[in-house]
Subunit: 200 residues, 2 copies
């Protein structure tokens, strides 16, 4: 099956440039939602744990995942695992979990496109000729779903979000508000982490 799941127009505005990775993440997110039988999350209760890290390519996938699923960083529904892998686990409180991973053969084939030659020379995606970007993006859309993604149900996966509290107090040093779980004590007074000097 080939379900292109082309991102909506505003996805490009959000992401900032055209590249193959945001659409790869978007399609992964949409397929994972279909697999679990969930709608885009308006509020909370659906989580995405991308196995990506930092200092490596293809992280743009995560913007596609945010756009597709609604599990945004701002709503604290997305958190990287820092494994440096091209995969993500999707968890619905009601429908359970599934892991999607990019197949090594797909990654190899993708790496052969001219787009990557530009990226390896340090050229930013928005500076790469449109035809070069189009070539790889259109090729990705044309691949069948199972050429891209390995799908692994995760029946034993569980996640408990951190306990939520509205309690906050003012740092005795800088006067700014701090939510309770991040308050530290110093010389008998409540302070924020930066004023504490404790580092965390």
């Amino acid at each position: 099956m080939t379900t292109q799941h082309i991102p909506p127009g505003w996805a490009l505005e959000f992401h900032g440039h055209r590249c193959p990775f945001m659409p790869i993440g978007y399609r992964m997110g949409r397929l994972a939602m279909e697999h679990l039988g969930v709608e885009r999350v308006k509020d909370h209760g659906f989580y995405v744990f991308p196995e990506l890290g930092e200092g490596h390519p293809m992280t743009c996938m995560m913007d596609g995942l945010q756009i597709a699923t609604g599990a945004t960083y701002g709503k604290v529904l997305m958190a990287k695992t820092f494994y440096g892998k091209l995969a993500a686990t999707f968890y619905s409180v009601h429908k359970g979990a599934v892991r999607f991973a990019l197949k090594p053969d797909f990654i190899d084939a993708l790496g052969g496109f001219e787009f990557f030659a530009y990226r390896r020379r340090g050229i930013e995606p928005s500076e790469i000729p449109a035809a070069v970007v189009d070539e790889v993006v259109q090729w990705v859309y044309a691949q069948p779903d199972d050429a891209l993604y390995r799908v692994e149900p995760k029946p034993d996966f569980h996640y408990s979000p951190p306990q939520h509290s509205f309690h906050k107090l003012k740092c005795s040093a800088c006067g700014e508000y701090v939510y309770e779980r991040y308050v530290r004590m110093k010389n008998g007074q409540p302070v924020c982490i930066p004023c504490s000097g404790y580092g965390q």
Copy 2:
């Protein structure tokens, strides 16, 4: 000065629900960009470090920050500091840094709106009556910039992003690709972090 900086229509689609916090973050992002004299970042080179954490309200501000600045989580341009504070530092490689913090008096006034009474009862933003959401959103728009934000230039702030590498290899246990910095060694073989059992 009152610069409403109302988020574009697609911002609501991205975020998933209407609330006062996404617009507060959006406006903070736009004002910080104006302060530093930068455009929305298409690729890389502009970073946002929100001082928020998890398990507390108002994190939705970070979606507004992503939307306004283009410093998205997927492009690895945004990272929480986990301080539990309602502030963010904005850093441009070329233009330097500035910190914006919500003023305690603004936070106090905001907390008096009926919207928060619903949230404290555990009612999700998309389930709160539209008139209740509108009341607080419109009030926020009407406040002058300096009622919301304390602005603090950070001339000494520096940030070096992690070194970038395209190198990857296959985990000898699961066969999936791992970017080099996340490869671990086990029994003389390269493995990914999950297969290593090391935890990180």
